[in-house]
């Protein structure tokens, strides 16, 4: 296994200083494909927000490992359904936002940056959506544009929040195949939040499973064995 990119040590997460989940200790390995699983209300979104820096840590420590000690760049892919259709933005306009982290106030993306965004759209097979209105794209098409935007940020970690929500079965498989492909080609650390167990089994290497206040963490091959699953559910019954 590669070295760690994020280490959580006895982390407590929550809102307004109140922990909703505590005692989280785990590492996310560099270049790994990790799935974050859990039913609604288990703290999945809170953990994701805390990792992204959108929510302060309630207790414990969260450590990022990079050569210069800086926080890694997250390429965040939110759910496509959350965007207000009122915004008259094209696919390119949305993907261009990925470079805004590098382009400071009073500056505008250079020709090279715009070219890079176009390359990202090509890489996600979304170049044909560049001039179309983002609000008029299908769920799967929006996800490809949003992944292009995340790649345009030149991320250390690609974080996808339920990318298959509102996407049909065929597009879901195509999207996950694509994410696996860019993970392999670019040696990109991927953190995927999902409900979809079969997809996790097929694509992920590591699992973080939030289950009834417990945090289960390990390789898919170890955690998804019949014996281990039986133990988890017997533990719950007991």
């Amino acid at each position: 296994m590669n070295d760690a990119i994020i280490t959580l040590d006895n982390l407590a997460i929550g809102y307004d200083g109140q922990a909703v989940l505590s005692g989280i200790s785990l590492t996310i390995a560099r270049d790994s494909f990790t799935a974050l699983l859990g039913a609604n209300g288990t703290g999945k979104s809170t953990l994701l927000k805390t990792l992204l820096g959108l929510q302060p840590v309630v207790g414990g420590t969260m450590q990022f490992h990079s050569p210069d000690g800086a926080k890694p760049v997250f390429g965040y892919v939110p759910q496509a359904t959350q965007f207000d259709p009122l915004y008259p933005l094209t696919g390119f306009d949305v993907a261009l936002m990925g470079v805004y982290g590098r382009v400071g106030p009073m500056k505008f993306p250079s020709r090279a940056e715009r070219g890079f965004v176009h390359d990202c759209l090509c890489a996600t097979a979304a170049a044909e959506f560049a001039k179309k209105k983002f609000s008029q794209l299908s769920g799967g098409q929006k996800q490809r544009v949003l992944i292009a935007r995340a790649l345009a940020a030149k991320p250390d970690i690609l974080v996808l929040d339920e990318p298959t929500a509102g996407v049909d079965v065929a597009a879901t498989h195509s999207l996950l195949e694509f994410i696996s492909q860019i993970h392999a080609e670019r040696n990109l650390t991927v953190l995927l939040v999902t409900h979809d167990w079969p997809l996790v089994r097929k694509h992920a290497q590591q699992i973080i499973w939030l289950h009834h206040g417990a945090v289960l963490h390990g390789p898919v091959a170890e955690l998804f064995t019949p014996e281990r699953m039986a133990a988890i559910f017997e533990m719950e019954v007991g």
Partner: protein
């Protein structure tokens, strides 16, 4: 056409009113597009009214303090009105934005209450001011007739500032409006950009209310943006079209009002309404054809 020639003549007596009206018409939609996109239309209704309460209060202060503003103190009076309008609008928008961020209560209810209380307070303040009939009520009703060179310069400078800030920072303002989480993840200070946007909206509203009154300010904030949204293919097109509709309607409205001896402000707003209705019809017909 004779009327148009007269209005365009450099010697036209009311030329400052034309310039002010067109300036406000061009500038208000630039921040109005953000009100529409962020679904803050109710704020667009309440703010001009709160701003006019600030004007009424500021203009009442000298009377309450026993100070006499004679005919020569017009600039002082307008600076006072500008201060009242700005302070009230900026304080109100920051307070309302703070309460909205907390996400508690009923935002529409708060804005509705702010609107109605501000409107009533303006009437109360002016009813106790014996100079109200001399022109201040006209201002609050949107009678854009007497605009001094000083007022025009103040309006021009303030709106130029808004234009420059919007031009320089529209990338950040759009980013935090469209996707706050991604903006924060990429290191943008979401709170700072939110506050800057609210200050810009508040400042523009304050200037517009002082120049054309609350009703017309709201009309120029909202209707050009709604009309342009019908045809906008991208954000740049949306902003430019809204601004051109606002500026064009302001000029056309002044021309119609002058020719027909009508009040300028209400003529502008009705004209904007007609343009919006025409836009809806054209959009519907285009959809049927396609």
């Amino acid at each position: 056409m004779e009327t148009l020639k007269e209005i365009l003549s450099p010697d036209f007596l009311l030329r400052n009113s034309v310039y002010t009206s067109v300036l406000v018409g061009f500038a208000c939609p630039l921040v109005g597009v953000f009100l529409v996109l962020r679904r803050l239309v109710f704020m667009g209704v309440a703010l001009p009214q709160i701003s006019s309460t600030g004007v009424a209060l500021a203009l009442s202060l000298p009377l309450w303090l026993g100070l006499k503003l004679d005919a020569g103190s017009e600039q002082t009076e307008h600076l006072l009105a500008f201060a009242g309008s700005s302070v009230f609008t900026l304080a109100a928008i920051l307070l309302l934005a703070f309460m909205e961020r907390r996400g508690r209560g009923l935002p529409e209810g708060r804005l509705g209450a702010a609107y109605v209380v501000a409107a009533a307070a303006s009437i109360l303040l002016l009813s106790k001011n014996r100079f109200a009939e001399l022109g201040w009520l006209d201002l609050l009703k949107g009678e854009i007739i007497t605009v001094s060179n000083f007022d025009l310069e103040l309006t021009g400078a303030a709106l130029a500032l808004v234009l420059v800030v919007l031009g320089l920072f529209h990338k950040e303002l759009l980013f935090v409006s469209f996707d706050r989480a991604m903006a924060a993840t990429l290191g943008k200070n979401v709170l700072f950009w939110d506050v800057l946007l609210y200050l810009l909206i508040g400042f523009t509203v304050a200037i517009a209310v002082l120049s054309v009154g609350p009703l017309i300010a709201f009309g120029f904030l909202l209707v050009p943006a709604l009309t342009a949204h019908l045809f906008a293919r991208n954000l740049k097109w949306f902003v430019l079209l809204a601004s051109v509709i606002g500026g064009g309607a302001a000029f056309l409205g002044f021309w119609l009002a002058y020719a027909g001896d009508l009040p300028v402000g209400p003529t502008d707003v009705v004209l904007l309404g007609i343009l919006y209705a025409l836009g809806l019809v054209v959009k519907k017909l285009a959809a049927l054809v396609h």
